[in-house]
Amino acid sequence: MNYLWAGMILVGVVYAAFHGTLPNVTTAALDSAKEAVTLCITMLGVMSFWMGLMKIAERAGMIAGFTKLLKPVLRFLFPNIPRDHIANEYLATNMVANIFGLGWAATPAGLKAMEELQKLNEERCKRYGTNRYRDYDMATKEMCDFLIINISSLQLVPVNIIAYRAQYGSVNPTEIMGPAIAATTVGTLAAIIFCKLVPNKGES
């Protein structure tokens, strides 16, 4: 990140020096800073609205309800995790949080899930020994599949994008939601098919 940011700024200034656009750079830097603040004001409204709504859903037990509904899906995706293992809980919480755009709730649950999956991995390594597909520092099929599905980013409401669009003069900021849901579903389906095609090698 450090290099990316520094690179953007340094390349920009050097390029401007050679193309006589240095004055534009000054205005752009100042204007962008101001713009970021205006954008945050719009975001304050949208994010507060969304997180407020999600708080109601959480307190009323709706999020927990969806997590329960996800159980059969988890059995299909991760058949090798013992049925009552706590990892299931964390995996479900992470997925539900992602779907509802609750990044702050998704990451801790996801990290917890990884921790539990690693414990399972260590148990297997101890019991069956290590080999080409199983080692203490090697990802298990569950870890790979979980991350691939997580990265495919199934999401219902892209709150941030809607806020940005509203700020930048979109007549209908939420217009993109339908296609976005369709596209993210395609991505997640591709992820699931991919995971199911990779044979299970190190788990049993």
Partner: protein, 174 residues
Amino acid sequence: MNLLLFVSEITIPLLVFGVVAYGITNRQPVYEDFITGAKDGMKTVFGIMPTLIGLMIAVGILRASGFLGYLTNLLSCLIPDVVFPSELLPLSIVKLFSSSASTGLLLDIYKEYGADSVLGKMASIMMSSTETVFYTMSVYFMSVSIKKSRYTLAGAMVATIAGLIASIYFTKFI
């Protein structure tokens, strides 16, 4: 009636109605809960504000210097627009590494072409349906000291590319 547009229109009202109705029938203090959540929301925004300022300045400089335009032209020579719009290529690549940096580029696209232009819509959909592959992988694997990630990257790229292609395709429907 266009189904995708219909989904766009009803999802939020439906969610708002559903959540509030569910909360009130379960005798929850919905108003207080909303306020608590809204406070968290404000904290989140204040938290990302410095990052947003930093990155928007960086992208602003790149755009004003003319480098971003140069890069787009260069990319459009390499990859014909029929396959993938060259204006959105930097955005898609940066998104693999950093969510905030790609936000900077997304806003730049809104400014250059308009949030409601085809490019603006396409970029919005792409950003909604892809995730920061490398960042997520390093955070999750590092937290449990896994060094060999096996096929995770391959799978994540398959999912991302499928999402990008689907984004281009579904943009046509609105």
